[in-house]
Symmetry: D2
Subunit: 375 residues, 4 copies
């Protein structure tokens, strides 16, 4: 693991996710660039002292050289380090599990994708929400034609944490890396959570927009990057869509919600109630599909406990780790990519997310013009 | 009543609304332009035969001349007749209760507003959804500062009726007046339900956008007018917003939903569950405010039965009739407009709705440009 | 109307219900035993002074003697007057619409049923909640075999109004007729709302228990009658059930909820969300059936506005008035009882309710013994 | 681990729960009494072959003798083995984490409690649902007086799995250990899930009933034990309650629901939506308390991820393992029981559950008589 020293939220989540299905053991880390913190954090995780690194490049080389070296690295650093770290480990022949967004520019994303392809390495990108069984079931339903042709999509990802007084301070905004373009990339909210929303809607709807129109905004005084973004979408098949993402949506916790309207039926998913998915036929009555009761290979593959025993965010996260493990095992065994891991987000999804950021920014700067989205 | 002959949905609703609080008696009508249908419909309503008119101008004059002539006319015709009918009755000194939208052009709307002012007549516009106690409570909460400054609004009004096979036919689209610009006005879905959404958000948020950006769309083949519209909003205080309205939203019944995010708290209202309103403080937990349990003059004024005894659409509609009656009584008695009827939508709201339509159309035609909204 | 003078809640509700579908005009009343209040209340309703009675017997005779006398009387008095008033009007040949419970003893209920039969008069009992379209749809579903054989029922009716400080006072309990056995009958909460719950479950499940076991309780200090009752039920077909009713259920508004579990599927209805009904197949996923979207004669008969336009308590109440009007018209015309009014609760349902009260009381007094329920 | 060979549901759940917070490693097991299955199952878990036992007594002795022997044993066998297995390991000085119910008789439960006390060993009983943060918060709220004195409780635990055709067969009922009194104990549904409901209500309400009245029932043909139980409860402070538990509740997944009504407010919890808890003040509006947003030591102690990131059943289960680990560490270090582990269910809760079963059975056999509950 690179990043994720003591106190880091997402590092701890990655570790639980890795452990939950018993596919990984955490044995080495460059948990911090600070030597003392790196050692302290590693010791707390029971790492051997010689495997508590402070430099990720040193770690990549040392681990690659060990007989019992790591198979995969989890990257949980600020955005600007994703590409350098991933590059170092891939060059050392080590598989990558990387937090999103992929990086801070499309160019570095494209280079990572090329490197992963060249070295034939697994590069999993933790778009966590696609690990939910009911999200995978939604994708499967759409792909099966169960809702007809997709006509309309709505996705929103709303939080209110940045509206807290502490985060509204100039001090916080000046020092937090999420508001530093050099570390976060060219957008704020759009990169942080907008890319999750963008990935989710494409994942389920099975199609990508050809054009978008966007407005970025910062409600926070003296903020450099956006804390709010609204986007209109146009799809090649004539479908329309809206995407909204905000870290200033008073009263919202982690409100990622998706609706997909097809010609035959519509689907609705709310991340805060992830064990259910709503299916409503045209002109008809809604059905509340529940995990464990619906029949479908995708949902079953991502399910651990029976219906009525709620699974949550950590299980969704663990699913990505489990799928990545299955791919790594297959690669090691010289086998093809296991079909049931097809839902795992990869570096290519990361590149699509970077292109989304580019298009949003271009549209916004042009006064919310319709802007082509590169593929 | 003008319009609303047998079989007309909205005419029957207006009649129940008028009757529910016992403020009105239906005694005369030009229920249809067809003499036979006008008489048959009037007889079914127990109107005296001589008060079953076929011509609305004749009715206005005849009723104005009777000692027991009508006090007010309810206009439930297609849109293009709203202005001529309202004009005829106002010129005869008769108060008007008119279905929305106000008409088919801003110009006729402005003229109606001037006439109502000149003649000192009540002109109620049936933006039904503002008759709900919890909508009025929401408005009162915002006005009181309970949610702080409004930062963000989201309103959507989604239906799926036009996606039914029968309505997707060329035959229906060719013959239905909702798709005929001469009768419906320059937009379709936008006029039909978009204006409801636009009025609702302004009613509750207590502010009007200064600019908007819109995209109209028709999913229906061979349709002249839009069946879908999405709009971004900018407010003078820097607030942002989104409005979406569709008659092609698979699985939606009458899904008018409003969210208003302030600096202190947010509100959420869903027309399909109108006895509740959700209030969530920044960083806190949601409260489900219920009709009959919340304390507030506006909600109490619009409430008939105790908490837990659900009120619905007809009661909301009746509230507008009741408020209009109170104004008519006050005018007749030479009294000022009763303060508690301040929430009644009037011809001025109708003009604002027409200007919204104009701006949406202008933005759309300019490729979704940001367009100033005239006040 | 007998009872329902100014300030009386249920009288006003009956009047709106009567008016809503335009089947009745209120023309006479013994609105109060106090002459001054009777006249004042009648005048407010625009009754002719000579039809504002203070004595219900005088009213029955006078109205029967008038050429334009009333067709039906609405009885909205305290419970102990239901039987005497209904008897007086039935003996004068006038149809009855009576609030529940039927009276204060089974004996008087049986006599009322006999009188109604002998005189061939309509006797509607306002078990309001059976006027909801989705309740009628539930009954129709059960009768059609859609949920299989009923195996289990749960019904509860919980309110918290009596837990308010004002109602917990000795003063209130001493003076309120709901706590006076001479006026309310032998039980309190059981009669007030328990009978609603009992009727509802029988109405939907289409079967009556053969035995019950009950515990009455009063949480209120110095209260004579129960404010809380819990009952277990056994049915002839082996089904089991529970009924709970309380006026001390902190935080509950008017929480009448029903669940019926069959061998194939289960149904759930919540009076506070009356436009929906949940249907869940064995081992499957729940469907949210909505008024206006479900297909069925019973629901359609009781529906006024399209799906998504919520109907409420007053419409359910109005439905009973409308059904009673249809029966009265049929009787007057010498026609058979209209089939579509089969769902109207009558004096026979009232007698069943009185027998329920008897059995509850008998079981409670015997230390919660299983007690046969007479048919 | 004893029990939990390949294919066993609850064994896998225990293992994830043990691993999730990285407090345990699974190193030895008597996963099956069948030698081949024991070895195969152990190998799949990467146990050393010499630590794959077939006899639990041998395992207890061998592990106690090893320097690196296990600290604790997880018991996931059928009910009748809980006591013998727990006894063997406690006699070898090994801590116990045992699935519920505690056993098949109160006598063996009392003996286990005595043994745990004598040996000063941790004995955790996996009443999983008390591991949820919002359940612990509910308990804390009640204990703090936030809802006043408890007046009324309702708890239900409904499933429909036994109503599936496969489980309704004589074959299944004859062979499944849940229907064999020698292995399951004297009750079926009551032991399986009724004890969960009973424990939950006592855990939150902070009080135990003094009397109960019960009816057991089996809807399943040719079934020996109950598949359905309904119970009325009386508390020393005059509070009343109902408990219902069924494995034949068509359409229910794992519907464990609790309501506690106090004099000031009520609480409602639904296990299928475990990240929220509803708090409604007397006469007021409900608040939806959410995990991560409420402030309280008990909930925080049991929380891993921020609000809006749902936690589920596995996290609740893991919480019990984590609390047990903290106790074991404390005991080993000679420290007092950590205060923050006070919510961990123990052998004493298991004894209370056995006494509940006894009282239910006694009441039922006496024709549903009120029966004292021993403490």
């Amino acid at each position: 693991m690179v990043g994720g020293g003591d106190g880091a939220f997402i590092g701890a989540v990655h570790r639980i996710a890795a452990r939950l299905d018993d596919c990984y053991e955490v044995v080495a880390g460059a948990l911090s660039g600070n030597a003392e913190r790196a050692l302290r954090s590693g010791t707390a995780l029971r790492l051997a002292p010689e495997r508590c690194y402070t430099d990720f490049r040193a770690m990549a080389q040392a681990e690659a050289a060990r007989a019992d070296g790591i198979d995969a690295v989890a990257i949980v650093t600020p955005n600007h380090l994703h590409a350098p770290v991933a590059t170092a480990f891939m060059e050392a022949g080590i598989h990558v599990i990387c937090d999103k967004p992929l990086g801070i520019s499309t160019a570095e994303g494209v280079a990572l994708a090329a490197l992963a392809r060249d070295r034939n390495l697994v590069f999993a990108l933790t778009h966590t929400y696609t690990g939910y069984p009911m999200v995978r079931h939604a994708r499967e339903l759409v792909a099966s034609g169960a809702i007809g042709d997709v006509r309309l999509v709505h996705v929103e990802y709303a939080q209110d944490w940045m509206a807290e007084a502490a985060m509204q301070s100039d001090e916080f905004q000046r020092t937090n890396w999420h508001n530093d373009p050099a570390k976060a990339g060219p957008t704020g909210c759009t990169s942080d959570i907008g890319t999750h929303a963008f990935h989710l809607v494409g994942f389920v709807a099975g199609m990508q927009p050809s054009e978008l129109l966007a407005e970025l905004h910062a409600f926070t005084p003296n903020r450099t990057l956006d804390d709010h973004v609204q986007v209109m979408l146009r799809y090649p098949n004539g479908a329309r869509g809206m995407l909204w993402s905000s870290q200033m949506a008073t009263g919202c916790e982690n409100a990622l919600k998706l609706r997909v309207f097809g010609t035959k039926a519509s689907l609705a998913f709310d991340q805060e109630n992830p064990n259910e998915l709503w299916l409503t036929p045209q002109g008809g009555c809604a059905q509340r599909l529940t995990r464990g009761r619906v029949v479908g290979a995708a949902a079953e593959h991502a399910t651990r406990v029976p219906s009525g025993h709620p699974e949550g965010y950590l299980e969704a996260f663990a699913q990505l780790y489990r799928d990545a493990a299955a791919r790594i095992h297959a690669l090691k065994a010289g086998l093809p990519v296991p079909e049931e891991t097809a839902d795992l987000p990869t570096v290519d999804d990361g590149v699509a997310g970077m292109r989304f950021i580019d298009a949003v920014l271009a549209s916004h700067r042009a006064g919310s013009r319709w802007t082509a989205l590169e593929r």
